[in-house]
Symmetry: none
Subunit: 275 residues, 2 copies
DNA sequence: GGAGCGCTGTACCGTATGTTACGTATTTTG
DNA sequence: CAAAATACGTAACATACGGTACAGCGCTCC
């Protein structure tokens, strides 16, 4: 079975004429970067003419050059998605069935935070901490517990934190209370829920500051969101994993808490007194 | 020092207008693949117009789009050359405040799973999968969302799954329905809630099979529990972290699902038909 | 050694791509 | 609340890119 273009080339390089073989060798030499550049650059690097490159690509079975490039990109994307899990985590002590799940989850978290800057988290935390308006949280079918989790914590350290639960009609009515000064935190991963999208759109129209927790494919709500947190969700299971988003949520909770403490919020001091 | 385009974006995303921010978020979400495609595809994926994409790359300091793409390609090439760099993220590129939190969380998970045998998880999963009785789930003040999360999933793949919510009196009444054949999943971490302990004790007396998710100091409920999952909760934050327990819960959900599929559960097949 | 075949490059073409100008909408500021 | 500034998209534009026709060259095989 041939799964990569590199293998495909290795398989057919024997049957190629001299010029195309040079093209093949050049591509293999710095695989796959040259293939992502233009035909002209490729041909120059290989020391052949442009048509030879195109004939080379055609021989590999591609209809045209862009199709060939897309294929290379897909391959790269797949490679980046699963960044050689083996090479990373210490050769799991448990050889059993749980390990793959844990390994994938750990990797998801690293990957999620890699694409998430301190700056971005700090911005969101700051927005949540500045008590100008209200904070609303809502989630989808499986992610609503995350919204609840976050709401439960935030509600302790600041007033006006509301988790939107129950029927769609229930929270839609709450839109009246929302305005420019308010923040709406939404959790939405595949399969994205229409009701949430509609809700987000309406809130957006009212000028609500939307913070979206979603997966790497981005819920359509990203259109309306001021801040988007894209977490990795793929695990070897029938279900998607929300663990990475959960950790981001906890991080955010911690950051907001620290922020409020730094601001010397009266509420925090009073609360410590109550314990 | 900014070395990658991703960091560059993270640094400036705050100063970008809405449209360009969408472009930035789209790129980050599936970094860097979208950036290698055409402006038209990029703009479509981000839901903005082509000029916005170009303004976005211009703001990042590139003269034109091809230059931006070349830069991305160089970055990719460097990454592919030395996959080691990818893996050793630990020398945290984020010198900021999130890393310690993430590191601690990852370590908590490893530590939690180290003390958790496959056997133990398999036993619990088996107990949950064998449909002799009902499954009840409940949690404490901050962990109840975990109970909800697990209940939401289990309820999809099997009947008689109940999340106990609301007032204490509410779920205490449900005790009448519980018996030897039933399973009660409890989440309880510091500070342990008396109400939960009392509830667990009563359930135990009725012969209910108790599965306890708790922290490393063990809730008093451990006395009555048939299975105890002790997760690490310590993180550099004002709050305890439930992330490790969350991951265990997801693992368990996955295991139960697999088990039921293996059993060829009628319900699973019917459900796939309903989609 | 000559005829035939196949490979390769030059030159040209059509088009898809990146780019720019401008008008409208939206937000910000006084 | 008005006016200015900024941001965004539509549409027209230019270029450079991929694609193709064709001619020359070398190679192979009679």
């Amino acid at each position: 079975m041939i799964s990569s273009i590199a293998e495909l080339i290795a398989d057919r390089i024997g049957t190629m004429p001299a010029g195309e073989r040079r093209a093949a060798q050049t591509l293999i030499a710095s695989y796959p970067m040259i293939g992502l550049k233009t035909v002209a650059e490729f041909s120059a690097a290989a020391g052949v003419s442009s048509p030879t490159i195109l004939r080379f690509v055609a021989r590999l079975g591609f209809q045209n050059y862009p199709e060939f490039q897309s294929s290379l990109q897909d391959e790269l994307a797949a490679q980046l998605q699963s960044p050689a899990i083996r090479t990373l985590n210490p050769p799991s002590p448990n050889g059993g069935t749980v390990s793959p799940m844990l390994e994938a989850t750990l990797e998801n978290m690293r990957e999620t935070f890699r694409h998430l800057s301190d700056r971005q988290l700090a911005d969101i935390a700051a927005r949540l901490a500045e008590r100008r308006g209200k904070t609303f949280l809502i989630g989808g079918r499986f992610t609503d517990p995350l919204a609840r989790y976050m709401a439960a914590h935030l509600a302790v350290i600041q007033p006006d934190v509301f988790h939107l639960a129950g029927q769609e009609s229930m929270w839609r009515d709450r839109l009246i209370d929302m305005g420019k000064r308010d923040v709406l935190v939404i959790f939405d991963i595949r399969r994205y829920q229409d009701s949430l999208v509609r809700f987000a759109e309406k809130a957006h129209q009212r000028g609500v500051h939307i913070v979206l927790f979603t997966d790497q494919w981005l819920s359509p709500i990203a259109r309306f969101a001021r801040h988007v947190i894209a977490g990795r969700t793929a695990v070897p299971s029938a279900w998607d994993s929300s663990a990475a988003l959960f950790v981001v949520a906890e991080t955010l909770i911690g950051a907001v808490t620290r922020q409020l403490e730094a601001d010397g919020a009266r509420r925090i001091r009073e609360m410590e007194g109550l314990r």
